[in-house]
């Protein structure tokens, strides 16, 4: 587990004993290259391929032959060209400067590459992931002579207006601080501490490296205990996510996966957002890049980009780097979690990641599993989601952090029985099933309320009742019952027509319609509807359910459902979501008055 240290040591040992040794390419097919003369290499070691020095990673070893997946376009690569070893696994660079940056799947900073290489990503473009020239004000949090262990905070820099970036003792190290820098301006490569480990005096800078495929260690895994609020009514009320939880959002094209992911990025109450565009559209990334710096976070008042890291490996960028993008993202998430933050990670779309695995696996001529996916698909998915969670952190003090993961899934033909959806559902605790029919009617978010579920409902329910309102669970259950019943009634109508329905059923249909159109439907592009806090959600529910009980009473006194349907209050319900904070009070008051007035309706004879 102590990979960091072992890695460093290995690099030194091997270089010393074996000297620089290169392999030779013997075969090239797409993103997969084979080389010989690679004896002594390690699985997942990072290498430089060919005369162009393309970045690659060893994925199969057999005798002195290595199979390498290459993270850049391989056109022009020729047998006979060298493969140079780096003696390091594929790793990311961690330290101040991550926030606000957009990286590709192997952590190349895209804005830098743009400045250096122009509008198109040419092969061999590279730039350091973190800015070496920027000065940060370092505040020491420990003194020299202190005994410290892995995970301890020894200093802090202000990375952005929203994020204090703690400098931690890297995993695998402990000892006494021989030296710590004074408060002052430093670049990230400056030595800010010297750690006496007993064996050696180790200089620490603000940069760490971490192999992306290894989870960063924690002290203990804990169960989620509170909801991760999203401001999306159907999610928070019916299918809640938890801090440290996992969710999947499968749906056919155009059903709203990306919009939901972006809505969550904007509104969840997590402190750090990692957004991975994995094999999706370039224009969507441009949109995020344009919107997020101007979008104010309602809690801090600062731009969202001041607490976000973006990974963009679009569908036309190299497929092997797409495979890596998900690991790059989750490793960065773990790094911020280790500082004690609540991190939310969105991966859009995990299907493209799985397809990247399939594509590479196909080139390796591995034995295909279901629908051509490799047999290890399910274990890779599980390993990834396993890196989410609420945890107690290494280091002294009782610090906690969490990573919540929301993965989009893009099933071919919208058919949820395919391997990626099925394997994902076996792992995640929340399932938001997107429905093409709802999307066709422009009922957004098109989350199907009959198919979706959340295993966090119990813990969320407790939280709502404790913090927001006492009858939340009852209203939620009633809502689910109404929606279920509506579905049954629709079946009946399809068979025998609507005229046979008794008034009580007609009222139920009216209730369901109000819930669907005025509560569950939420328009992401409206200034106010885009986000509904828990207090307002509760207020809306309360207003709707008060009306429901008045309506039932009215029905008993002989008032018809078609009369109730024509009441102006029904229209007011539809305006609750889009009401601005100023309009809110008058609107809810008028709803209350109108609801009360139902009492006075007289039966027309």
């Amino acid at each position: 587990m102590r990979v960091g240290k072992a890695m460093e040591k290995r690099k030194h040992d091997e270089k010393d004993t074996m000297g620089e040794k290169n392999g030779v390419i013997i075969r090239v097919t797409g993103p997969v290259v084979e080389a010989e003369g690679m004896a002594g290499s390690r699985m997942y070691e990072s290498v430089r391929v060919g005369n162009a020095g393309l970045i690659g990673e060893i994925i199969i070893l057999e005798g002195d032959r290595a199979t390498i997946q290459v993270y850049e376009e391989t056109i022009g690569v020729t047998p006979g060209e060298p493969v140079v070893r780096t003696y390091l696994p594929l790793s990311v660079e961690l330290g101040p400067g991550l926030i606000g940056t957009m990286y590709d799947g192997i952590q190349r900073p895209l804005e830098e590459i743009l400045k250096n290489n122009g509008d198109m990503i040419e092969r061999g473009s590279s730039a350091p992931a973190l800015d070496r020239t920027k000065k940060y004000r370092f505040y020491p949090l420990a003194k020299s002579g202190d005994t410290v262990r892995e995970g301890d905070r020894i200093g802090c820099v202000r990375e952005s207006v929203s994020v204090n970036h703690y400098i931690l003792i890297p995993p695998g190290l402990s000892g006494t601080l021989h030296f710590i820098a004074e408060q002052g301006e430093y670049v990230i490569t400056d030595t800010i501490a010297i750690l006496d480990t007993g064996e050696e005096k180790k200089e620490l800078t603000m940069i760490q490296r971490w192999p992306v495929r290894d989870p960063r260690p924690v002290r203990e895994r804990l169960d989620p205990i509170e909801p991760l609020l999203t401001g999306q009514r159907i999610i928070d009320t019916l299918f809640p996510l938890a801090r440290g939880g996992t969710a999947a959002i499968p749906g056919p094209f155009g059903s709203g996966k990306t919009v939901v992911q972006q809505q969550l990025a904007k509104w969840v109450n997590a402190e750090i957002i990692i957004y991975i565009g994995c094999g999706e559209r370039g224009n969507e990334m441009a949109d995020v890049l344009e919107q997020f710096p101007t979008l104010k976070d309602p809690r801090t008042g600062h731009a969202l980009s001041s607490r976000m890291v973006l990974i963009a490996n679009t569908s036309n960028m190299p497929v092997a780097a797409r495979e890596a993008s998900v690991y790059t993202g989750i490793t960065i998430a773990e790094y911020y979690r280790d500082m004690g933050y609540h991190v939310a990670l969105m991966a859009d779309s995990t299907s493209r990641w799985a397809e990247a695995m399939r594509e590479i696996s196909g080139r390796l001529e591995e034995m295909p599993g279901e629908e051509g996916y490799p047999a290890y698909l399910s274990s890779r998915l599980a390993d990834f989601y396993e890196r989410a969670g609420r945890v107690s952190l290494l280091g002294s003090g009782d610090h906690e952090g969490s990573i919540s993961v929301i993965g989009a899934v893009s099933p071919p033909g919208g058919d949820f029985s395919e391997p990626v959806t099925q394997n994902t559902l076996r792992i995640v605790k929340v399932f938001w099933a997107l429905d093409a029919d709802l999307a066709y009617q422009r009922h957004f978010p098109a989350i199907n309320w009959l198919m979706s579920y959340s295993l966090y409902s119990p813990i969320a329910g407790i939280w709502w009742e404790e913090h927001i309102g006492p009858d939340f669970i009852r209203m939620k259950q009633e809502m689910m019952e109404i929606l279920q019943r509506e579905n049954e009634l629709e079946e009946i109508i399809r068979l025998v027509g609507p005229e046979t329905l008794p008034e009580s059923d007609r009222l139920l249909l009216l209730k369901a319609e109000i819930l669907r159109e005025s509560y569950l439907m939420q328009y992401a592009f409206d200034e106010f509807d885009t986000f509904t806090g828990p207090k307002k959600q509760y207020r809306m529910l309360k207003a709707i359910f008060t009306f429901f009980s008045q309506a039932e009473r009215a029905l008993e006194t002989g008032i018809s459902v078609s009369r109730l349907r024509g009441l102006p209050v029904i229209e007011s319900f539809a305006r609750m979501g889009t009401a601005s904070p100023e309009e809110e009070d008058p609107l809810f008051e008028s709803i209350a008055r109108d609801t009360d007035a139902i009492r006075d309706l007289k039966e027309v004879l």
Binding site: G30, M120, G282, N283, S315, N316, E359, G372, A574, T578
Partner: protein, 469 residues
């Protein structure tokens, strides 16, 4: 580059389908171009799909017919496939391998580019926002096209997708702007007749001299279809990003393109994915579609209208399915509407324009546009649902409100969707028409429109309003 690369080899060890294998070669690069001289002297172009120390596998674009294993000569060029580009290509016609077929001379290159291009850095992209008025209500009103968008037409055999595509090409304009525009047209496996139709349309609208045509027709070699769209898109990128033009790229038919990919995969005995298409078809299609867009600080743009026919009208077929997952929406044509005699037979419910949101609204089209669109969608969906009910059990059980929805639905199809192939409606015309239709419904039903807009535009009668006692 070593001399080895220019070595010419005589003899081929194996020919399978569109592929040939050479043994005893040395230093052949992945993806490089091979010139293949047939025993009869004909020269064809191929590309290396796989290379080892001594062996190269080459796909031959104009097919392997007449290749032999003894006398065929292969010269490796040591570089990937390239195309000569020039603004003089406007008004010219080329075959699917970019050779002139209009009797004009060769293109005098202003520059030469790799046809696979390089991905646009996502950080360089500008989010497209300029809406294009196509003059077609079902598109402009419900699924607005934006400059720099990729918006495919999902069609079926025998549906009027060509007529629609040519109407879009003819009528497309960005209001208030007269800019340099161009059309790049790539045919992949369509019939002579279909291609002649497009050429005539371009000619009549006067667009022909601003059009570059690449034609791989039904009787041209299938494998060539793999490079035809790339030649077209490389040309489009040159015109857009080097010459500052707004380029509309029409690619048709992508289903034929995917067939060619499938053929290569089968010849290589790759593990097939869904319905026999290779697993990397998503990535491959993305490498075409993602070449649409705008780049910050550059004037031009590439707007793509790929056309594809859905086998069996099945939208879940891999070609439309994967396309929909990559493009920024889709225009779907319906056989039902076509049978009813409605042109353009746009089935609006499954249609989508993902870039519409940023391209409409105050200062762009009109402030009420987004809300009107949402209301039309929900009303039309409800009307369609009711009509399917009526089909089963007649109109008896319907309420008077239901009847209004049905009336709305019929008028929507007949007045809003239906228009003549030369009818060019402005955004304003389309929205006014929309309000005429929405005014069929009671005001209280317009829940997706804010009261201010209702006050401004609604002009219906309040037949259904139920007052208290």
């Amino acid at each position: 580059m070593t001399d080895l690369r220019f070595r010419t080899y005589t003899g081929v060890s194996k020919v399978v389908g569109p592929l040939m294998v050479l043994d005893g070669v040395e230093g052949i690069g992945y993806g490089e171009i091979a010139e293949i001289t047939l025993p009869g002297g004909e020269v064809r172009i191929g590309q290396v799909l796989e290379t080892t120390t001594t062996r190269a596998m080459v796909q031959v674009f104009r097919g392997t017919r007449d290749l032999d294993t003894e006398k065929t000569q292969v010269r490796f060029r040591g570089e990937p496939m390239k195309i000569s580009l020039s603004s003089d290509m406007l008004g010219r016609t080329f075959d699917g391998s970019a050779r002139p077929i209009d009797g004009g001379g060769p293109v005098i290159p202003e520059c030469i580019r790799d046809i696979y291009g390089s991905p646009i850095n996502p950080a360089a992209r500008e989010h497209p926002r300029d809406s294009i008025q196509t003059g077609i209500s079902s598109i402009d009103g419900m699924n607005t096209l934006v400059r720099g968008q990729k918006l495919p037409i999902f069609s079926g055999a025998g549906l009027p997708h060509n007529l629609l595509a040519s109407q879009i090409a003819r009528q497309a304009k960005v209001t208030g702007q007269a800019e340099k525009f161009a059309v790049v047209f790539a045919a992949m496996g369509i019939t002579y007749e279909e291609s002649a139709f497009f050429i005539r349309e371009f000619e009549e609208s006067g667009a022909l001299e601003r059009t570059v045509l690449f034609l791989n027709l039904a009787d041209d070699p299938a494998i060539e279809r793999i490079i035809t769209p790339r030649l077209a898109l490389t040309t489009a990128e040159y015109l857009a990003f080097d010459k500052g033009m707004h380029v509309l790229v029409v690619l048709t038919d992508l289903t034929n393109y995917c067939e060619a990919l499938r053929e290569i995969a089968a010849a290589r005995e790759e593990v097939p994915g869904r319905r026999g298409y290779p697993g990397y078809i998503y990535t491959d299609l993305a490498s075409l579609y993602e070449r649409a867009g705008r780049i910050r600080g550059r004037e031009g743009s590439i707007t793509q209208i790929p056309i594809l026919t859905m086998p069996d009208d099945d939208i879940t077929h891999p070609v439309p399915d994967l396309t929909g997952y990559i493009t920024e929406g889709q225009i779907v044509l319906s056989r039902d509407l076509h049978r009813k005699g409605i042109y353009p037979p746009v089935d609006v419910l499954p249609c989508l324009s993902r870039l519409m949101q940023g391209g409409i609204g105050p200062g762009r089209t009109r402030a009420d546009h987004a809300e009107v669109k949402n209301q039309l969608y929900s009303a039309y969906a409800r009307g369609i649902r009711l009509k399917s009910l009526v089909a089963v059990m007649g109109e008896e059980g319907l309420t008077s409100l239901d009847r209004l929805y049905i009336r709305f639905c019929d008028r929507f199809e007949n007045d809003f969707i239906r228009q003549a192939s030369y009818e060019d409606r402005s955004f304003d015309d389309t929205l006014t028409l929309a309000w005429d239709l929405l005014s069929i419904l009671p005001k209280a039903e317009l829940k997706r429109i804010s009261p201010d807009f209702i006050k401004m535009y609604y002009h219906g009668e309040e037949i259904l309003e139920c007052k208290g006692p």
